[in-house]
Subunit: 136 residues, 2 copies
DNA sequence: CTTGACCCTGTACCTTACTACAGGGTGTAG
DNA sequence: CTACACCCTGTAGTAAGGTACAGGGTCAAG
């Protein structure tokens, strides 16, 4: 089966090799197998894992939170009550993020629609007012 | 009308006063009016603005991006084509974020459901596989 | 009319998440 | 058999986003 050295992994996941080593040190990636030379070797599942990390990060999760998220599925001997509680917590957080994004979306749509017909000042910020139900 | 000093504003928005001053320096907040003493004075719209900044940040937007977002509604004399193009761009970004969050949500739900009936190893990470359609 | 909570500016420091060497070994194409 | 791209460890530096003083003025309650 085809394997990846750190450089190839990094290219596939669109990050720098240093970032991979940094993630390893930070326990976001498990210590990989090594060739006799000491070179790290990875398989394609690591590519997915790194991409996941990057996407979660773009959504405002910190590396610590992401480690937690990934840890949930990997802790051998984590009991179900704990995993479920954590999952529930994360689900609520995600639900809230989606809700806020929806409101921003609405605000931007209003802003865009208002524009071609113009004349009204844009100064009343429709993004903010959609989030907080302000004087529209 | 009731006004806020920096400390009250900070408490209302759940940040530190230093953060408010930092946002002012970073042009995320306009220079406020001052009392004769030099004290900054704000009104409630600034509370909303600061909350907006914090929420946008929690969604992975940088302060520079947020400044851009807020700037869109305030640039006197920004032409509509430009505002619309920017809004469209942001809308796509937001749509993508929502999509990714939905997939994470699905993954976490599967993880949680799988747990009480247990026995299967959790080791196949359902969060990641939901994002990348891996071997489920 | 003072005391405690608040405000000011300015500078220095901190954490997170990288990024960039330095100094040295590896692997493969020509 | 060498040249060039790649890998290793370790340490230091960077950018973003704050946070923490120091040194000094303000304001309202008692």
């Amino acid at each position: 089966m085809h394997y990846f050295t750190i450089g190839k992994l990094a290219r596939q996941a669109a990050v720098a090799p240093e970032t991979i080593r940094y993630y390893e040190k930070s326990r976001l990636l498990p210590p990989p197998d090594r060739l006799e030379s000491g070179y790290r070797v990875y398989d394609s599942s690591t590519v997915k894992r790194v991409r996941f990390i990057k996407e979660a990060q773009a959504l405002g999760f910190t590396l610590a939170e992401i480690a937690d998220l990934l840890g949930m599925t990997e802790d051998e001997g984590a009991d179900c009550a704990t995993v479920n509680a954590k999952a529930q917590e994360k689900l609520e957080e995600i639900q809230k993020k989606i809700g806020t994004l929806r409101k921003m979306q609405k605000g931007l749509e209003v802003l865009a629609q208002r524009c071609p017909a113009d004349e009204q000042p844009l100064s009343e910020c429709s993004i903010i007012s959609h989030l907080y139900g302000a004087e529209e």
